[in-house]
């Protein structure tokens, strides 16, 4: 009877936490749309002029303004924008006269595939490097990992991409320099490495410090005392406990990778959503820039939510205290 009550309590507190966390998102979403609306419709030059180019008559401009509704007061425009967003409509591109939704939908799969490969690199290389430097603390390997993770944080993604292109594409000629080609894995390798570099460094550092903390626990000594092999102790006992914070970091990264995609996709001419946003910037096509940004922010916020909920599930203390985001 008592056990059932405890389980009930766990579920109820979890449910309350999820509800509270979702309620917290609402003002964030409203704020983001308000901010982007301001950027999109209030500050820039006359969109009618952008669409009709030079030489348009004043009458034609006025007609288009009325058609687009930008002659109305701002709050009317905002309400219209929110209603439009609520229907899932991101507006129409100034340049292509196509809906932003269809433009983004066309390119999103390519970005997600690239991010997926980047996450795999991050998990394999980041966690391996972290484990090695923790287990072989203060050796050559540890120093190597520490130095390269520090450097990786300082290297701009786009410059790393260009260097990879020159070294592997141009000088060695073993990998394609840009584009998606026929979509084979060879085309993914260089952009994925560039995209994953900074996150891999963070994963490696996080794994290292988390492993060091776990290794110093008494149950690790016990495991060794039982006569277990080094591999078993590290692999079975330490890793399981050390990886919880790392997993959440990787979850948060999905959102951050989307931001990095703009630079990586530009350097590698990758036909993803990042490149679409970049081209739209050059053409001053605000609805595409803002629509693309909005989707990326939504993904970021949503991943944050999932990570927080996962974290609360794994660590009950969180449910009572707000988790401070590490900056």
């Amino acid at each position: 009877m008592l056990i059932i009550k405890e389980i009930d309590f766990k579920y109820i507190s979890m449910l309350l936490y999820i509800v509270r966390r979702i309620l917290q998102i609402i003002p964030v979403i409203i704020g983001v749309t308000l901010l982007l609306f301001t950027l999109l419709y209030v500050i820039p030059e006359d969109p009618a002029r952008l669409i009709l180019q030079k030489g348009a008559t004043e009458q034609a401009l006025e007609n288009l303004r009325v058609k687009m509704g930008i002659d109305k007061p701002l709050y009317v425009q905002y309400w219209r924008y929110v209603k439009q967003l609520a229907r899932g409509d991101l507006g129409t591109s100034y340049r292509y006269r196509r809906s932003v939704n269809s433009i983004l939908a066309e390119h999103y799969p390519n970005s997600i595939k690239l991010a997926f490969v980047a996450i795999i690199i991050e998990i394999i290389i980041g966690i391996m490097a972290g484990i090695i430097s923790a287990v072989k603390k203060y050796t050559f390997w540890d120093t190597l990992v520490t130095v390269s993770t520090t450097l990786a944080v300082c290297v701009p993604v786009f410059w790393l991409g260009m260097m990879l292109q020159v070294i592997f594409g141009l000088k060695l000629g073993i990998l394609p320099m840009s584009g998606m080609g026929d979509g084979s894995i060879r085309y993914y390798i260089l952009p994925a490495i560039a995209l994953a570099s900074v996150s891999t460094a963070f994963v490696a550092r996080m794994t290292r410090s988390s492993m060091l903390e776990v290794i110093s626990n008494d149950y690790m000594t016990t495991a060794y005392a039982k006569g277990l092999s080094n591999f078993k102790v590290i692999g079975k006992h330490a890793l399981k406990n050390a990886l919880i914070p790392v997993v959440t970091l990787i979850g948060l990264d999905l959102g951050a990778l989307m931001g990095g995609a703009i630079l990586t996709e530009t350097v590698f001419s990758w036909p993803g959503v990042g490149r679409v946003i970049y081209l739209a910037i050059l053409q001053r096509d605000a609805p595409v820039v803002i629509g693309g940004t909005l989707i990326l922010v939504f993904i970021f916020v949503f991943m944050n939510l999932i990570v927080d909920i996962l974290y609360a599930w794994l660590d009950p203390r969180i449910r009572y205290h707000k988790r401070e985001i590490n900056v």
Binding site: P27, L35, P44, L151, P156, M162, G259, L263, L296, V297
Partner: protein, 308 residues
């Protein structure tokens, strides 16, 4: 108080006397948080390397006209895309401009953006952080929710959105990066205020009749600054990378002004015929950011040795 509860102590030296002796012996008589931190920082080789890089860079930025051998925007037609040699240390670009001089002048943009943009973030952040932390009530809730909105933007994405609208130019870069960064400063400052505002010395100041303003400026501020200094130093590196990214995307500093990110985007189409065009500006960014990161890491360890 607690120490004196032991009756044996009466026979020995007074605790205060012992402490005073230690202080005089070790010459820490006028020791403060900042002096201690500086002492620890000086012993940290990597941090001193970072500090040296930062100081040298600032010097290069200030004395750019005296260091650079050529005018950074002057085009020498006969010497277009020359590979590095004695006359042009880093070679020239397609328009015949000396890359060494352009890298030297580029440091001005990066250092300016790093310091001014982070300064703007810090000022806004400290102001709202102080209000949120000290008067924790409705204003706290409102400010922190607004901060959440800013946290919802990946840094680079927000900067791109703002620059697209404001248009290119260095002043707009200050604004975009400066405005985006305030939330982290506010959050850090708020939490350090929360942790010290109930300490005894603040209560003592209040008992003496000090005004809120005086308490914040004279007592809380100096004691809450350490994490802000650390974060600001690291943030300068981030701001420099974001500026380079914006200029790379063509929405930052405009030509012909030499900026490292812009130089990289100009070299993008010629990496097969003139790879030196991309090598040197990129290395300049890496070394600069590394300097601030190493200094920031060192400051963190110096202010809080327990964290190490």
């Amino acid at each position: 108080m607690i120490l004196n509860m032991n009756p044996d102590r009466k026979r020995k030296k007074d605790d205060l006397e012992v402490i005073n002796e230690i202080i005089i012996e070790k010459k820490y008589a006028r020791s403060s948080l900042y002096k201690d931190a500086w002492r620890r920082l000086r012993r940290n080789k990597l941090a001193m390397l970072g500090l040296a890089i930062v100081i040298i860079l600032i010097m290069i930025a200030i004395f750019a006209p005296f260091i650079s051998p050529y005018d950074p925007i002057e085009r020498i037609k006969e010497e277009s895309s020359v590979s590095p040699n004695g006359a042009h240390l880093f070679g020239t670009d397609l328009l015949g401009r000396d890359i060494f001089s352009r890298v030297i002048y580029g440091s001005r943009i990066s250092i300016q953006v790093g310091i001014i943009a982070v300064g703007i973030s810090a000022l806004i952040g400290l102001f709202f952080g102080a209000i949120a932390g000290y008067f924790s009530n409705i204003s706290d809730a409102v400010i922190m929710r607004v901060a959440d909105i800013f946290f919802a933007f990946p840094y680079i994405l927000g900067a791109i959105a703002i620059m697209t609208i404001l248009g290119p130019g260095i002043v707009n870069i200050f604004i975009a990066i400066g405005v985006l960064g305030w939330a982290a400063f506010a959050r850090i400052f708020r939490s350090s205020i929360l942790s010290i505002k109930n300490k005894e010395y603040i209560e003592a100041a209040r008992a003496l009749g000090a005004s809120n303003y005086r308490i914040i400026i004279k007592h809380i501020f100096p004691n809450a600054m350490a994490p802000i200094i650390v974060y600001a130093t690291m943030n300068v590196g981030t701001a420099i990378i974001v500026e380079a990214a914006l200029s790379f995307l063509g929405i930052g500093v405009q030509p012909p002004t030499p900026a490292w990110g812009k130089m990289l985007s100009e070299s993008l189409d010629y990496i097969d015929i003139a790879p030196w065009m991309m090598l040197f500006p990129g290395m300049a960014i890496v070394i600069t950011v590394l300097g601030f990161v190493l200094l920031g890491d060192g400051l963190r360890d110096a202010f809080d040795p327990k964290l190490k």
